[in-house]
């Protein structure tokens, strides 16, 4: 009996009228956890009942604590007939199970009913007393922290990053059980909500156990999804990255290194003087492989078609252009398996990381995007306790990803994610990530890999290291065009780089970034089972190929050379497949200037045709020039001599029917930069190709003052102001079913996305200048002729005036950040600060910093001082943390709380927690910010309160009365936001970061006046403090510290 859960029902407000006669309600509450139920008294005739109940106590296993949600049901008492349910609140008590997060959940929760939506609010207080259980064979994993954030959370330090954790649980879907025929829709929805909540809890617990096994204490980049497989069941699966995290501000940080958890951490790679530069060990002559240039950095998996029950026989049919590529891949993979230097990866099953941003020095090289898809036929899950089939499916895909990464000379995959698309009984499983070489010092047991270490030392200090190719030029996994790095001029870089991760903070970018999307539809014949699966798997390679080509063309058209945050979604429907790829294009200074796009016609003798082609060519060139101006891409001109001997280029221009100089006579002045580089050739041999070129040119850039990206931060903008607006927008279009062609379909889909973006720009025009960050598009095909696109993003304002000086401040900032992190890695902060703080007052330190920023080679001494300066703020915040900790213990110990202590904790655990129900008419509900990003601009996250993972179903049988489908979904999404905010506020938080709407499944039946929607959202609840407030506090620090220790003494005596 290792835990006691205590619940108190305080009051309700704004309840619906349940008794028509009196216009009032006789409400009471049932509190259920596991199999135990308590009831409050009936509060007669009121819409604002004051139950003020006793503490309901549940004595439970911590296993149950993790799995079960607390279920609160508000009912209307009826003497003669059955009591009517008003609605429910499910509370996930997981955040109370680890010490650093919330200690109490207290606040107003919306009372939710799956048929009526939110019906009033209820004030609840929940506490957990946890007894320590040291049983080694325990089934629970209380204490493991979960983060949705795909980087190391802001107030933590990664001691060790252990690696990939995954788990899935399956069950029957209550909607498809026989009992569903006789129960009400409400009962069915509630059964589903409860089951998914239960499965999520179980999943989290199981993942936690795996983390404990790996000796970690946290999961970062936790991504949980559910697959509604219909008849065949319900799958809840999750992936994440196990880590050992250390709270930056924990008291331990004040003690000099005595509790340094890992010895190797002391010897951080960054301690090495940076003057090593990038000494190249590659002295072999450089070869450039020939062949299709379209597949750079992009290994495409052949979809393997597997029928369940038939074993795993691969019936893969690869598309033409891939045959060569694949052979090469397998070859190199085999070769490397022989005498590969990457012994390290064989130790771990899957060296995958769900993180997209990393501590400095963690990422050594990036190979490129690796992805794998496979088409499966769903079959009923017979035994929910043994979800082996689904496990095997994913294991297979991961294995494939792993081998792709190996082929790219990488031992790890970062920015890894998995997804599914289901239509009837066909399911496409997809996984993608970025092949990378990592610094083993951060990984648990990778420290003795001599070979890797050698590599590290060479490359770490440069800021272009991650662009350098990790693979061997002799055995290139695919044809690529290599040049010497434009930054260090020593190592090889590819001409284009695709990744699924965020732009590393220390990467040098020229100009600004922009959102790039490739959109594609393919019609497919309606078919059943195997035939259907075969048709899909035949189509997949062509789609991947085309999506890739589109991305490449659009990237070139923007004058950029790298994609970050690439996410390709393939959605399957009854009669079509949709592909949507989103990424953020940037110009990396380390990579060569991209060549232009050149158009080549098939029939060169036709005069008018020729003219048409050259007209198009001119248009394309104009667009490139315009884009370069728009995104401020003006890389410094580099003469060939500096770069050194050019890499022998394969002058294979057989396909090039017109030479660049001929076609672009008139535009040479516009087209200086890419005129001499090898151009990307687009052959126009039929109308399809013509359409493609046209569609390239139809993408309209955002209106001035707007930028957009799908990564965390917009490359080239960093002077964010504090206004943020997170939003979700959903659109569904109905296609006219008559003679649909691929072209028409493509156009419709393209228009849908473009119009959606235009609408967003219009709606948010009051925020200009602003940037849409983390733009996340999801496509689904709910019915035959319906296409649904869901977008979630955040608009952040920035200061236009400061933008001019950004380059400098950016360098400064990144340096500062780097040095802060260095110091954290060093593990002896106190030694540094104790002797250097008094001797170097702040202004000189700043000077050092500035000089350092202008000077690329930073002497070690100066670095030390800058370390001090920048870490000052961090230490201050740790003091605050310490004081808060003390303040909390005081508060818990006795009722007496002094004013000074309250002041010392600026965020006010107190402020939020002790917030009484506001009696005054003018007090409003506390603001809770939501953002898909891991940070809040202009603010510092001081505390992570736990993961928010919520699942809701809403159904209506009066669709017209609720304003049609738009009214219904609008209200539902607003309600979901409200419930997320309420839970965060109850935990004592004021924001959700890394918020994501993972699923929004909408079904309608207008003829029956019915609709149903399922939404799954998650994020991290946090407490943040405005930086402006923080400064005030940090100046008061020393005194506050004394005072608080004083009060502590006072209380204890």
């Amino acid at each position: 009996m290792p835990g006691k859960l205590k619940v108190k029902i305080v009051a309700g407000r704004h309840l619906p009228v349940m008794d028509r006669a009196s216009d009032l309600t006789d409400a009471f509450v049932e509190v259920k956890f596991g199999n135990t139920t308590f009831k409050t008294d009936v509060y007669l005739k009121s819409l604002n009942p004051q139950w003020n109940s006793e503490w309901f106590k549940f004595e439970v296993d911590d296993e149950d604590l993790q799995d079960e949600p607390l279920q609160i049901t508000v009912l209307d008492h009826d003497t003669y007939s059955a009591n009517d349910a008003i609605g429910k609140v499910y509370i996930d008590i997981d955040p109370l199970l680890y010490s650093e997060a919330a200690t109490v959940i207290s606040g107003w929760f919306p009372i939710y009913d799956t048929i009526h939506g939110i019906r009033g609010e209820i004030n609840v207080v929940v506490k957990v007393d946890l007894f320590n259980d040291l049983n080694r064979f325990r089934q629970s994993s209380c204490g493991v922290k979960f983060f949705c954030t795909t980087s190391i959370p802001k107030c933590y330090r990664a001691v060790i990053i252990h690696g990939f954790v995954e788990e899935l649980v399956v069950n029957e879907d209550p909607e498809y059980q026989w009992i569903d025929r006789i129960r009400t829709p409400r009962a069915s929805n509630e059964a589903r909500q409860r089951l998914i909540s239960l499965m999520s809890g179980e999943l989290q617990r199981k993942i936690g156990l795996k983390v404990l096994e790996m000796r970690g204490n946290a999961v970062v980049g936790y991504l949980q999804c559910f697959d509604l497989e219909g008849e065949s069941g319900l799958v809840v699966r999750a992936i994440g990255t196990a880590c050992t995290l250390d709270k930056l501000s924990s008291p331990a940080a004040f003690l000099p290194a005595c509790n340094s958890p890992s010895k190797e951490m002391k010897e951080s790679p960054l301690v090495h003087p940076p003057s090593h530069g990038c000494r190249s060990t590659h002295n072999s002559p450089i070869h450039t492989a020939t062949g299709s240039r379209l597949t750079q950095n992009f290994s495409v998996s052949v979809p393997t078609l597997i029928y369940t029950g038939m074993g795993s026989g691969s019936a893969g049919k690869e598309g033409g252009p891939f045959k060569a590529l694949l052979r090469q891949q397998t070859q190199s993979a085999l070769e490397q398996r022989g005498g590969s230097p990457h012994r390290f990866c064989r130790r771990r099953e899957f060296p995958f990381f769900t993180l997209t941003a990393f501590p400095p020095g963690f990422l050594v090289h990036v190979g490129g995007v690796v992805s794998a898809r496979s088409v499966k036929l769903l079959d009923r899950i017979h035994n929910p306790d043994e979800p082996e089939t689904r496990d095997a499916w994913w294991a297979e895909i991961r294995q494939e990803i792993k081998s792709h990464a190996k082929a790219l000379g990488c031992h790890a995959v970062v920015g890894y994610s998995e997804s599914t698309s289901i239509c009837e009984e066909v399911c496409i499983l997809s996984a993608s990530g970025t092949a990378a070489v990592l610094n083993p010092r951060f990984l648990q047991d990778g420290t003795v890999e001599g070979c890797l270490e050698q590599r590290l030392e060479e490359n770490l200090p440069t800021r272009c290291g991650f662009c350098h190719i990790p693979y061997d030029e002799l055995n290139m996994p695919f044809p690529a065009h290599l040049t010497y790095c434009y930054n260090c001029r020593k190592q090889k870089v590819p001409d284009v780089l695709f990744t699924t991760i965020d732009l590393p903070t220390d990467a040098t970018v020229i100009g600004k970034g922009c959102l790039i999307q490739a959109r594609l539809c393919r019609l497919k014949k309606k078919a059943q089972a195997e035939a259907n699966a075969t048709a899909i798997s035949n189509l997949l390679p062509f789609m991947e190929y085309e999506v890739h080509t589109q991305l490449m063309n659009k990237l070139k058209l923007k004058g950029m050379n790298a994609l970050f945050g690439l996410r390709i979604q393939i959605t399957v429907g009854e009669n079509m497949l949709m592909g949507l790829a989103s990424a953020t294009g940037v110009y990396l200074a380390a990579l060569p200037t991209p060549g232009g796009i050149q158009i080549a016609g098939k029939t060169p003798n036709d005069g008018s045709y020729e003219q048409h082609i050259s007209h198009m060519q001119k248009k394309i060139n104009d667009t490139i020039a315009k884009n370069k101006e728009l995104y401020e891409i003006n890389p410094p001109e580099i003469s060939e001599e500096i770069i050194g001997s050019p890499i022998p280029e394969p002058r294979q221009r057989s396909r090039l029917l017109r030479s660049q100089s001929e076609s672009s006579d008139e535009v040479t002045e516009l087209d200086l930069s890419h005129g001499k580089k090898d151009a990307f050739v687009l052959e126009i041999d039929d109308t399809d190709a013509m359409e493609d070129v046209h569609s390239l040119l139809t993408d309209v850039p955002p209106p001035s003052g707007f930028y957009s990206c799908n990564t965390e931060i917009m490359p080239g903008i960093n002077n964010w102001t504090s206004e943020i607006q997170m939003f979700t927008s959903v659109r569904v279009i109905r296609l006219s079913s008559l003679n649909l062609t691929n072209q028409a379909l493509n156009k419709n889909f393209n228009d849908l996305c473009e119009n959606l973006l235009k609408s967003l720009y219009f709606k948010l025009r009051s925020m200009i200048p602003c940037c849409l960050c983390h733009v996340n598009f999801t496509v689904s095909l709910p019915e035959d002729e319906l296409i649904q696109v869901t977008v979630t993003a955040v608009a952040i304002t920035f200061d236009k005036n400061q933008a001019l000086q950004t380059t400098k401040t950016h360098v400064e900032k990144s340096l500062q950040r780097a040095s802060t992190d260095n110091e954290e890695l060093l593990q002896f902060p106190l030694e540094l600060c104790s002797d250097s703080l008094p001797s170097h007052p702040l202004p000189p330190a700043k000077e050092h910093l500035e000089s350092a920023s202008s000077n690329s080679g930073i002497p070690a001494a100066q670095r030390a001082t800058s370390v001090d300066y920048s870490s000052f703020a961090d230490r201050c915040s740790s003091w605050i943390e310490l004081i808060k900790l003390k303040a909390q213990t005081i508060r818990r110990g006795s009722i007496k709380t002094t004013v000074t202590v309250e002041k010392a904790s600026p965020v006010g655990d107190g402020n939020f927690r002790n917030r009484p129900a506001p009696p005054c008419a003018n007090s409003t509900v506390g603001v809770v910010k939501m953002t898909p990003l891991s940070f809040i601009p202009g603010a510092k996250i001081t505390k992570y309160l736990g993961i928010i993972n919520m699942f809701f179903i809403r159904e209506t049988t009066s669709l017209r009365e609720e304003g049609g489908v738009s009214g219904f979904l609008h209200a539902f999404i607003a309600e979901v936001f409200a419930m997320v905010r309420a839970h965060v506020a109850a935990l004592g938080g004021n924001a959700v970061v890394s918020y994501i709407m993972k699923q929004c499944v909408f079904m309608e039946n207008p003829n029956k006046n019915q609709a149903q929607c399922l939404i799954n959202v998650s994020g991290d609840a946090v407490v943040f403090v405005r930086e402006s407030d923080l400064e005030v506090v940090s100046t008061q620090q020393p005194t506050a510290n004394c005072q608080s220790s004083g009060t502590e003494g006072e209380v204890t005596t």
């Binding site: 279009i733 109905r734 235009k758 219009f762 603001v927 939501m930 609008h970």
Partner: protein
């Protein structure tokens, strides 16, 4: 390709003031889009008509959902569904409860009943305000009336507390409620020259001095109903015109004081008895509900119009009324000085406000 569903939901609810105004003014989505296009927004932003349509629909949907909450503004503050900054909440409420001058003049003093609601069609045609907007304004009046009807305490405070309106707007509503409760006639042709502001000014004075609340602050309905006792007592003032000596004395006192100071002295002197009779008779009649309703008609007929026909300047009216009220204190035979002051103080303020073209 048709759009089946098209929504935008922000964590902070987006409120477009211009669209809100169009919605409040009762325009349909189509009309609102047309009006927005005419405002030149497409050229400013480079948006398309489709974008505008979708944006307008979204806002209308949001307002429609908010309307339920706006009916009880404190709910808007406590609800959790829409996260709206306090300043925006205030704006939403204030604009929702704002009304058109033209509309309020039509219904001021009328019973806020179903019958009046049926006349909204005519009012709409007459004023050019959309029927939808008329309904909203009428329902607002009625809602406020119902809520504060049987409450204790200051009318303005009650309105402010339950509807979170600004001071100015709460005072206006107090006037509307007061007029509706006492059914003052304001629609007569004679009264057409008066603005809502004129009536609201009078209402405020009357609430302050002539209601139960003016003497006792703990009564139900204290600010809505006129003090019946006071109205009864007003009969006593009749002596001022019934007693010929008293009337002559009063006249001579006023004339002595104003001689040489008034441009229209001779007209005043000639009209004094008529004017005084008019003012005192209005007071004496207030015991009957019907006469209470006609208060403003009587004031205009008996005082404003005669003065206006003789072209009294406003300053002369002010001089005269001050002297007329003050001189009564020197009438030895008159015992109801306090009553006179309570009556005349308010009446003087009202008359001065009503005296214009």
């Amino acid at each position: 390709m048709t759009s089946e569903l098209d929504i935008f939901v922000g964590n902070t609810t987006l409120i477009d003031e211009d669209v809100y105004r169009l919605w409040l003014d009762g325009y349909s989505v189509t009309d609102a889009v047309a009006l927005r296009v005419r405002s030149g927004i497409l050229e400013q932003t480079g948006a398309t008509a489709a974008v505008l349509q979708s944006d307008t629909m979204d806002h209308y949907r949001t307002f429609h959902m908010l309307e339920r909450l706006l009916h009880a503004p404190p709910k808007l503050l406590h609800q959790l569904i829409f996260q709206i900054p306090p300043s925006r909440q205030a704006l939403l409420i204030e604009r929702y409860y704002a009304f058109d001058e033209a509309f309020v003049r039509e219904v001021l003093g009328k019973k806020l009943s179903k019958g009046t609601k049926k006349d909204l069609d005519d009012i709409s045609t007459k004023t050019g305000i959309t029927l939808k907007s008329c309904r909203r304004q009428f329902d607002n009046f009625k809602r406020v009336f119902k809520v504060v009807e049987e409450m204790r305490g200051s009318l303005v405070d009650n309105i402010q507390q339950h509807f979170l309106l600004s001071d100015r707007l709460a005072r206006d509503y107090a006037a509307i409620v007061f007029f509706a409760n006492n059914r003052f006639e304001t629609g007569k042709k004679k009264l057409q020259y008066l603005s809502f502001g004129d009536f609201a000014f009078c209402a405020e004075l009357m609430i302050q001095n002539w209601t139960l609340g003016a003497v006792d602050s703990q009564m139900d309905d204290m600010d809505m109903d006129l003090d019946k006792e006071f109205l009864q007592d007003l009969k006593e003032l009749k002596v001022l015109v019934a007693d010929k000596d008293l009337l002559d004395l009063h006249k001579s006192l006023v004339c002595t004081a104003l001689r040489g100071k008034l441009g229209v002295f001779s007209e005043m002197e000639a009209n004094f008895k008529n004017l005084s009779r008019g003012l005192v008779n209005v007071a004496a009649k207030l015991t009957h509900n019907k006469d209470v309703r006609d208060l403003f008609v009587d004031l205009v007929e008996k005082f404003v119009e005669p003065c206006r026909s003789d072209h009294w300047p406003l300053s002369d009216v002010r001089f005269f009324l001050s002297q007329y009220a003050a001189s009564v204190h020197s009438l030895d035979g008159f015992r109801h000085q306090t009553l006179w002051d309570r009556y005349m103080g308010t009446l003087r303020g009202c008359l001065l406000r009503l005296y214009h073209d």
